[in-house]
């Protein structure tokens, strides 16, 4: 059981002081995944007004910190390769908070780089692991196949038409945000409801436009002590609350197909931060699929199970709606190299700093960022705020 007395003490004991993507995101065939890690790391350190030599803690996923540190040229004194899917980077924020507060390191660097679109050397999975043994032979392989099985069950429990409407609302509203973000893959391409419904089937009930992009991109985050944050280039963003965990790996082992682990990590993060849903100015939810957003809103407690469709109705989460959600255009329309979690954090920090440009949420002081990883397997939630 989480010890909230100790967690509340930890709240705010570290600050995010640097965030950035790699120089280019989208189609980047001329750079390796490690090059994307390094580029983003250097950019984020520059954003913080720091050098590589300041870094003493390294966090990454998808790769071992051994390879990333060696490639970038780091010798970290704290190392964390926690890799539980695209939520990992949100988990790294929590781990960095704990490591910095405990005194293991003072400047934590979280890096990500992945060439989902152009990778020359994708890694095959170990054929002995249960997922490969029991699901792969049937073609239950990868996120679209797996998440669509969960969505189909959700439709059975809560109604197909209502669910479909909600998924279309999320796809269209997220695209509207992307149309305000010059870095978004679909910055210049609009989408309407007909486009959504007419897009081809990937894995019924998922249309193409229910699915995230597959791009090449890197991103990085720099975290340090609140004291050291005062000397950085920009004001720090406080890490106020966090929760992490997982309850299965492959989709057939998910305890309840309509409830992901956000039902645990969301309430924990909010309680640790000492805030309520109504206090939040912005919500960033990892949108691997439109369905992931729908179910995450329910799991996080923004509404009750089965009420997500009403929550997102009438473009409520679009730039003209009252609930700002995924203002960068999300994995659906901005970028998604394979493990998107870190990009939700980058946008959260930019919004808190007032760097959102055309898409800036007014008076943005408290943000919830939520990552889902694997096959709805792991989640992590953090609360970030202006100090």
């Amino acid at each position: 059981m989480a010890n909230f007395k100790r967690l509340k003490n930890l709240s705010g004991k570290a600050s995010i002081v640097g965030v950035d993507e790699s120089n280019e995101i989208g189609k980047v065939p001329d750079k390796s995944p490690l090059a994307l890690h390094a580029e983003a790391a250097i950019n984020a350190l520059d954003d913080a007004g720091m050098e590589l030599s300041d870094v003493d803690g390294l966090f990454t996923a998808g790769w071992s910190t051994l390879d990333v540190a060696e490639y970038i040229g780091l010798q970290p004194k704290y190392t964390d390769s926690t890799s539980v899917g695209g939520s990992s980077f949100v988990i790294h924020v929590a781990h960095a908070l704990a490591a910095i507060a405990a005194g293991y390191c003072e400047v934590a660097l979280i890096t990500h780089g992945q060439s989902g679109r152009s990778d020359r050397a994708p890694v095959p999975k170990d054929p002995g692991i249960p997922m490969v043994q029991y699901e792969y032979p049937y073609g239950i392989i990868g996120p679209p196949a797996s998440y669509s099985l969960a969505c189909s069950r959700y439709m059975y429990e809560y109604g197909e038409d209502k669910t479909r409407q909600a998924m279309s609302e999320i796809a269209v509203s997220t695209r509207k945000w992307a149309n305000l973000n010059p870095k978004a893959y679909f910055y210049e391409k609009t989408m309407n409801f007909d486009d959504y419904h007419n897009s081809k089937w990937i894995s019924w009930p998922f249309h193409l436009l229910d699915c995230c992009l597959v791009t090449d991109a890197g991103a990085a985050i720099v975290i340090t002590t609140p004291e050291r944050a005062k000397n950085c280039r920009k004001s720090g963003v406080s890490i106020l609350g966090a929760g992490e965990g997982h309850d299965h790996s492959m989709i057939s082992q998910m305890p309840d197909l309509t409830q992901a682990f956000g039902k645990v990590t969301g309430p924990q993060a909010l309680k640790m931060a000492g805030i309520h849903h109504k206090d939040l100015d912005l919500t960033m939810i990892y949108d691997s699929f439109t369905y992931t957003v729908l179910v995450s809103l329910e799991n996080l407690g923004f509404c009750k199970p089965g009420e997500g469709a009403d929550f997102v109705a009438n473009q409520r989460t679009s730039p003209s709606g009252e609930f700002p959600l995924n203002t960068n255009g999300g994995g659906l329309s901005y970028t998604h190299p394979g493990m998107y979690g870190i990009f939700a954090l980058v946008e959260a920090v930019r919004q808190l700093r007032g760097e959102g440009g055309e898409r800036q949420v007014p008076q943005c002081n408290l943000v919830l960022a939520h990552g889902t990883g694997g096959l709805l397997s792991s989640t992590s939630t953090v609360i970030l705020g202006n100090a």
Partner: protein, 138 residues
């Protein structure tokens, strides 16, 4: 192009040999926790319900119901490109466990599939030393 031979094949592990060997004979063997009476899938070295408890292998009929399904149109691996569209499913065995599989002998259209519908097992010899357990409407 016949790329069927390149489909991912399970590599049985010591705790799952009995399951995969059973399928070759047209038999479904599932583990049961002796102390709690609960069944578990997939096979493990221990009971998930009582780590001190014993597990036994039980031969089951394969009577099942459809728990959820999806219809795959974009092959998730090139070796399935000749198979699309096909039906992925999770089925619930009468004894309780949920198993990942395919539904066969049905046109892959959502109209033809009802969650909760009764299913029976089909044993599909891959010709590669592995028999897969698929299901069709009962």
């Amino acid at each position: 192009m016949d790329n069927n031979q390149e489909k991912p094949m399970p590599v049985p592990q010591p705790e799952s040999d009995k399951y995969w060997n059973g399928l070759k004979k047209g038999e479904i063997w599932i583990q049961k926790c002796k102390s709690s009476g609960q069944f578990q899938f997939y096979p493990r070295s221990h009971s998930m319900y009582n780590v001190d408890g014993e597990i036994e292998w039980v031969k089951v009929s394969g009577d099942a119901t459809l728990y959820t399904f999806a219809i795959v149109h974009l092959a998730p691996h090139y070796s399935f490109s000749n198979d699309v569209p096909f039906i992925n499913a999770l089925i619930k065995l009468k004894e309780g466990p949920i198993i990942p599989t395919n539904i066969v002998d049905v046109k892959p259209d959502p109209k033809n599939l009802k969650i909760g519908m009764k299913l029976k097992p089909v044993f599909v010899d891959t010709g590669q030393g592995i028999t897969l357990l698929k299901f069709k409407p009962a």
